[in-house]
Symmetry: C2
Subunit: 253 residues, 2 copies
């Protein structure tokens, strides 16, 4: 089942995507819903980011090739990091590269969307707290990433966190691959199961110290390398079963 979040007639709400059509609902995937009987064409609505988290988690280092590219050592345990809501944009929106940005890379990532309040959850129970999965592009300015004291502008400048296009509730993580293409040409491909620490491990570990809330998101890290992106490049991140998150990169005017 596919949940989309969209704007139509100036109202933003959740709906269910069925065969390229949007089934309108009352309610949302977190607190219950019922179908209204109204159906819209997907092309007639404005896609929004599929979740607006209370807290935006991001794993950072979770695949070995990316860790060596970053010059980091392999983490011994799942320590999660953070990103910022201001940077979120939907599928199809432009990533704006600031005038003084000089080395912008993509990072295609699996995104977990939390469905229920989770505290002190075991690895076996963790799946019960997941609503579904979507796609993220953890856009990064590598020079700022290495010289600033924090990731504030390197990873959290406005528009640097494309997410979408929708939430898929039924996936098989063991059979999934992430493929990133620039202007239609494949550049990066990696298997989801190559994560150092899996989704259940992260949710269980985090929930020993903190409460995860419905709509919270966990970006699960990336593998491989990105070329330096240029004005006009279109980056497509495809995950098996989740669709394609596509965004154009444009230089700030």
């Amino acid at each position: 089942m596919k949940w989309i979040r969209y704007t139509s007639n100036a109202a933003t709400q959740y709906g269910i995507l069925e065969d390229q059509r949007v089934v309108q609902v009352e309610g949302d995937p977190f607190n219950g819903y019922k179908k209204t009987g109204t159906v819209l064409d997907l092309s007639d609505v404005q896609l929004e980011v599929p979740a607006v988290p209370s807290t935006f988690y991001c794993v950072g280092l979770n695949y070995t090739k990316h860790i060596s590219t970053e010059g980091k050592s392999i983490p011994g345990k799942p320590d999660v990091g953070y990103r910022a809501n201001n940077a979120l944009i939907a599928h199809g929106k432009d990533v704006v590269m600031p005038r003084d940005a000089t080395k912008i890379h993509y990072e295609g990532e699996l995104v977990v969307v939390i469905g229920k309040k989770a505290k002190d959850v075991s690895m076996e129970e963790a799946g019960d707290y997941i609503l579904g999965y979507t796609i993220g592009n953890d856009v990064s300015e590598r020079n700022w990433q290495s010289t600033d004291r924090t990731f504030w502008r390197a990873k959290n400048s406005d528009t640097f966190k494309p997410m979408g296009p929708w939430i898929e509730t039924d996936v098989d993580l063991d059979r999934m691959e992430t493929v990133v293409a620039v202007n239609g040409k494949e550049m990066t491909r990696f298997k989801t199961q190559d994560m150092l620490f899996g989704v259940e491990r992260f949710i269980s570990t985090m929930s020993q110290y903190l409460t995860l809330y419905p709509g919270d998101i966990i970006w699960m890290g990336t593998d491989g390398e990105s070329p330096d992106l240029c004005d006009g490049d279109v980056v497509d991140v495809t995950l098996t079963g989740l669709g394609t998150l596509s965004n154009r990169f444009v230089r700030q005017a």
Copy 2:
């Protein structure tokens, strides 16, 4: 003027504090309001955190004594960091020290509450985007802070971010002091004007790359040192003109 956020009759809303009484309003400080004519006793309402941010910013290193205590070098520019909403608790609520936490410290901080959407703002204009100020206690587990790869549990475990008691719109930062007391005994005192980078500098710098939204908060850093806190300790953080943020620290059962 003092804005409080409170719960009464199962509804959470903003009100104006006047002489220990809560003047009920329709609306809120960000989108406009009018007084309803209803007035409640402060003792009859449940105080809530005075803002729930879209993004929770925290400066980290902004006073020289604290920076040397942390063994860090003086930052050359204002690079902001992040904290997590799950950790926020109101004035008067207990900070729960996890069973395996061994070295818990307070950090008394000035908190800026953003009042209007801010992007590309000059230092001179920055003040126009501030609703007011409140108090934060950036509770930290120092062993996790030094051994984990990120601050996720060291600074963002549930209840580690007390904030309040309310938002004061009229302050004179140049005359303010932060005083932290444990069980009524003063332990730390520092002047707000000793910040390396001031509020306007941070807002202006951040807004060149990101949009600040109404209700976003910026915690401005701390100075001095904390003793190791024990089960039952009460920590009071007082800032001139802002009142006192008081929270008891209790060991997780």
